[in-house]
Symmetry: C2
């Protein structure tokens, strides 16, 4: 038995707990996200689910981001990508060659933020950190 990284039922249950209606479309979006390995775009999902309107896809992704069930991040040029969340308080590595997105968890990032509390005027309410990489697969490929 393998682990269930992001269970559809978790996501659906979380939406339900938030007082939202569980519609067929929302189930389909959640299921489509689970089928994706790394990152994906909103248009990926919209193209895959022809029976679900584009507006609904965007609305559902926004709900999932707000519920911390998925993350919205950006490539170096600003192109938005989404990624299913597996662990809390993580950050992302993004391969600039193949677009693969991985989560990583590093407590030192949290330590940096605490040290910034002394350095930054004002109250820290959030942060974003992305590390851009050339992943092992791309480095090992013939085009190296």
């Amino acid at each position: 038995m393998t682990s269930t990284p992001t269970s559809q039922f978790d996501a659906i249950a979380t939406l339900e707990d938030a007082g939202l209606r569980i519609t067929g479309q929302r189930r389909q979006v959640v299921a489509a996200i689970e089928r994706k390995g790394g990152g994906f775009t909103a248009e990926d999902i919209a193209a895959e689910l022809e029976g679900v309107g584009r507006a609904t896809v965007y609305r559902t992704l926004k709900l999932l981001v707000e519920a911390d069930l998925i993350c919205k991040l950006a490539l170096p040029d600003g192109t938005p990508m989404y990624s299913a969340s597996r662990v809390e308080h993580h950050h992302h590595s993004v391969c600039t060659s193949c677009g693969a997105i991985e989560e990583f968890r590093d407590t030192t990032v949290e330590r940096v933020l605490r040290s910034l509390t002394r350095e930054i005027e004002g109250e820290i309410v959030g942060h974003r950190m992305e590390v851009f990489i050339r992943c092992r697969k791309c480095l090992d490929s013939p085009s190296g």
Copy 2:
């Protein structure tokens, strides 16, 4: 005599050194950026410089980003912002209330990246970090 944080002549000289032509439009975009305090959008610049075409504004901003003379960053919702660079290897704090953007320099961030070298599969080629805050001015204002 006050310091010249980002001198127009620096930016123009850098573009010139890169073998680019120094046009009136590029001078105007650089001058407009210098007049801005914190962050700004491409449309801010385009609206301010009616004599310069929108496409040229976007093209020039891209050149300046590539030359590390300005940074492109994003608000929590992904809205892109630009900010003139004053120091190297810095990161940004963005006030989620008033949009003020400040640079900060923290060597611990660089230390985190070095520690990630051991944790992340692949080669780190870049990173982005933004800290979202409520700035002192907004915290101190009546609406607190």
